[in-house]
Amino acid sequence: MKVRDIVSTLEGVLLTGEALLDLDIQAACGADLMSDVMAFVKENVVLLTGLVNPQSIRTADLMDIKVVVFVRGKVPPKDMVAEAERNGMAVIATKYSMFLACGRLYEAGIHGGGTRDIR
């Protein structure tokens, strides 16, 4: 699914990352705990989170995650968006809850969790 389709599926607002609108994303990860993102994410995913602080952008950057969606109507402050922009990332804000945002993306065709094997 392309980033532009993620934006429309989530009825979201793209805060930065126009250049990535045609990037293809196959997997998604929903998490508010950044240590879990670092522990489990393996593939290139879209990260859905309700965690609005610089650590979400930094974690995504370190994990080569190019697209971050802030759920539950949360809008990151300008300096966070600027940091994402400097890192070449796309940032999307959606009014949907984590559950509904993940569900809408799953229904629209993103079925991969993008994680390492979890035992």
């Binding site: 705990l33 950044m34 240590s35 522990a39 290139n44 602080n53 610089p54 930094r58 370190l62 994990m63």
Partner: protein, 144 residues
């Protein structure tokens, strides 16, 4: 090549910046992406620990052709029970750290999982030094 960063123990908004710098430095040197990601995870977790528990400190990354050795040194209270601290899920982090997406007892296990060697020297009142070694193995793949 040796990189050195002062990690602030007071400004949480800066936490993770040193790890980002090292990640970019490894990228410029053409290190394979999987090893870069493993280094970044280890160093970021260690950097967060240093900010949360250690009151800040000094982070150093020594780069060789086949490996990176990251040393994170703080003068904080030290770790009283290292075996307990290594257990996944064990945490002494305060609630406000959990609200920042950390402090769930995943840090040290994450470092162990992603490093080729992890050494923790710590004693109560004597601070903590975490040494992380990651080998650059070209057979490791892209990390994607």
């Amino acid at each position: 090549m040796k990189l050195r960063y002062e990690v602030s123990g007071e400004d949480m908004s800066l936490a993770g910046k040193a790890s980002g710098e090292v990640k970019r430095a490894l990228g410029r040197l053409g290190v394979n992406p999987a090893a870069i990601k493993r280094t970044a995870v280890c160093m970021y977790e260690a950097e967060m620990n240093m900010v949360i528990h250690g009151g800040g400190g000094v982070a150093e990354a020594e780069l060789s052709p086949d490996r990176v050795v990251v040393t994170m040194r703080d003068s904080g209270p030290g770790i009283p029970d290292l075996e307990l601290a290594m257990q996944e899920g064990y945490s002494t982090a305060p609630e406000w750290i959990r609200e920042m997406g950390f402090g769930a007892g995943m840090g040290l296990p994450n470092m162990k999982r992603n490093s080729d060697e992890l050494r923790i020297d710590s004693a109560p009142g004597k601070g903590t030094t975490v040494t992380i070694m990651v080998k650059f193995d070209s057979s490791e793949g892209t990390g994607a």
